[in-house]
Amino acid sequence: MTGATPRRDWLLHLAVIALLFGVQFVLPAYHYSNVSKIMVMASFAIGYNILIGYTGLLSLGHAMFFAAGLYGAGLTVHHLGFDPLSGFLAGLLAALCLSVAIGLVALRTAGVSFMIVTLMFAQAGYLLTLYFGEFTRGDEGFVLKENLLRVVVGDTGFNLIDPAARYNLALLLFTVCLLGSLVLVRSAVGRVLIAVRENEQRTAMLGYNAFLYKLLALVISGTMSGAAGATYALLFTYVGATFAAIQYSILPLLWVLLGGAGTTLGPLLGTLLMFYLVDVSSGQTSSYMLLVGAALIILVLWAPKGILGTLREKRIPWLP
């Protein structure tokens, strides 16, 4: 990160987005759908990365923010008949409120305590989705009916589950999250977040209230994760407690560390890689977890800072 003109990295990010836009015309159906889903999950990972990568806070409870978005959108559309946009906003609002509340409490801790406290809040959240089974159908979850997912634009309209609509809306979410994260880390605020990550005490002595900045980071991170959750509910029409469980807190951690924590494009790369690692290896063998596990270890031995993190260290220092 330097004071030099930041044009190069903007070009790179726009090129990635253009590439994702372009490949939709050539992708085979299966991968078309996969990439739609990967972009949504990568948005979740981007949100996670703002916290772990740029602020240095390791949360083990991000499933709760994803689930807040998922259920915020899913329940309002399913039970209250919200239209998709209102449902999305409801999900966003739910995640926003939750992240403010969690931040005010959990950010009083640091380091491993923060890890465990977020983990426990998320666990409580997971149990809540089961406890209110009357509305959520607990672990089994519920399906959003197609007719609720129609978006009317003027005289015409489209359905969210239409593959093209789904792909491009996922791309829209991803674009907003990716460019949002780039703007953030390139901004004055992003510089402070990084300073908090590097040395919180020193940052306070520069006149910054580190707590407020950590709270801001957590709220942006949680809301972005919630946006991904709400989008997932609306585009893929399934809402279930699985998404609130611990593995969906571990997964974004894995994706981000794999791609490179503290790199804007790392979350996408990690999500993409992990998805296809499972997809391809589960076709090869029923012991695919063995391959995934071995791949993780080999990768981390070869690139301990994640792929893009290591690349930045060795080859491309300007990578954001």
């Binding site: 299966y30 979850g141 589960s282 076709g283």
Partner: protein, 440 residues
């Protein structure tokens, strides 16, 4: 017909299709590669004897793996048998297996992969409810006939879509309500229920509570057990003293602990105990700690232990799948099957076979699929047979759900002996949905 040769061909076909997944080749080219169909004849053959591709969505890893393995064995046995006896309308089944990790997100992806990568004709075999519910929308959107073997009350509740069927196993609502009359009449009227505190358990709670009340009994206590629980003893303490019957159902790897701790808690001074075999699927009745279960009762869909009046069909089915008369694997008597669930895979494949043959289904065109779906919906009765060894069934095309006889067995000397068999009508209820009104 030379059986041994045909056998090896079938095996090869299955193996090839597995590798097919690896290489991402189309089915036809895999057949070519296997030497089964000469390349030049490929197209001509496709009309008459190209395989019917069926995607098997299997829980090979994750929490459902104990069931998934037996689902896979049963499925492979049925596919082999169907292929050995002329396939479906002369076409062999090519089975493509994908693991869904017992995860609803991956489940949906697997259905997608079946439809767009493997280009299968149908998808079948899902057990866990959350995977079914998570995958069903994808099946509907891709217009992929999706046959689940789950026993959950999701298909019949009307909240899925027209492409999802459950023709091989009854749903939990039907199972539960058919038990109430016998429980009230023979065991007692004051029932304490212990069940997992999530959707599956809530279905048991809601439907049985109503059903027992209709019999003049009462569910005097509901004891939900949280999903993350690994120890159960303290829940038994909540059972009221006046309880006449304990009704229990538990799933997952903790089931044996649950049953064992129940025994330790009560000893010999216990009320009547009635449970769902889900609490003991894939568990050896001779396991240490289960002695106390002697004299208690279980719901079974399909009696695990061969009964005195065992039907010829059951005998045939056991032999084909490789299950001995105690419900365990022939080659490993300690390896106990999920006998009350896995027959659904077998029967479902035969329903698919019948539907293809009746509808004249040829390939995955919208027209053929519509015809297939309508022909499944038109089915009403399945006679007890080698194809339906569990017994006769009634299929409700409006609900896409099948209804069957259920068994109640008593544990005697470490065996489960059937003491009552319900009528199909005992498990029928007023339909709340009609999938046929949805467009195809």
């Amino acid at each position: 017909m030379d059986h041994s040769k045909k056998d090896s061909n079938t095996k090869r076909l299955i193996r090839v299709s597995r590798r097919n997944v690896i290489k991402g080749l189309g089915a036809a080219s895999a057949l070519t590669a296997s030497g089964l169909v000469p390349g030049a004849m490929r197209y001509a053959q496709a009309q008459s004897s190209a395989p019917i591709k069926i995607g098997f969505q299997a829980h090979l890893t994750g929490i459902g793996a104990a069931y998934g393995r037996w689902y896979q064995r049963t499925t492979l046995a049925a596919v082999k048998l169907i292929n050995d006896t002329g396939g479906i309308g002369g076409r062999p089944i090519e089975l493509v297996t994908e693991d869904d990790g017992t995860d609803p997100k991956r489940g949906a992806e697997v259905v997608e992969k079946f439809a767009t990568e493997h280009k299968v004709d149908f998808v079948f075999g899902t057990l866990f409810s959350h995977v079914v519910v998570g995958s069903a929308p994808t099946a509907g959107q891709l217009k992929m006939p999706y046959f689940v073997v789950s026993e959950g009350y999701h298909v019949a509740s009307g909240k899925l879509n027209r492409y999802v069927f459950q023709p091989g196993i009854t749903d939990v609502r039907s199972q539960v309500i058919s038990m109430a009359p016998w429980v009230a009449g023979n065991l007692g009227k004051k029932v304490a229920m212990i069940f997992p505190d999530y959707a599956f358990g809530h279905d048991h709670r809601d439907f049985f509570t109503k059903a027992i009340a209709a019999q003049g009994g009462e569910a005097i206590k509901h004891i939900p057990v949280p999903a993350t629980e690994t120890s159960y003893t303290r829940y038994f303490a909540q059972i009221p003293a006046e309880t006449e019957v304990i009704y229990h159902v538990m799933v997952g790897p903790g089931v044996l602990t649950f049953v064992k701790e129940m025994g330790e808690h009560f000893g010999s001074k216990r009320p009547q105990i009635f449970g769902f075999i889900d609490s003991l699927e894939a568990v050896d009745m001779a396991s240490p700690g289960l002695e106390f279960l002697d004299g208690t009762y279980f719901w079974e869909a399909f009696p695990r232990y061969a009964q005195k009046d065992q039907s010829a069909f059951d005998k045939f089915y056991r032999q084909a799948v490789g299950v001995n008369e105690n419900g365990a694997a022939v080659d490993d008597p300690k390896d106990v099957s999920t006998y009350s669930h896995m027959f659904g895979c077998w029967e479902t494949l035969y329903v698919i076979k019948a539907a293809v043959e009746q509808s004249g289904y040829r390939s995955a065109t919208p027209k053929d699929k519509a015809a297939l779906i309508e022909s499944v919906e038109a089915m009403t009765d399945f006679a007890e047979s080698n194809e339906h060894p569990q017994g006769a069934k009634k299929f409700n095309g409006q609900l896409h759900q099948v209804f069957a006889h259920q068994s109640i067995s008593k544990v005697e000397g470490g065996r489960l002996n059937v003491v009552h068999r319900t009528a199909i009508e005992d498990g029928m209820y007023e339909p709340e949905a009609d999938y046929r009104t949805q467009s195809l």
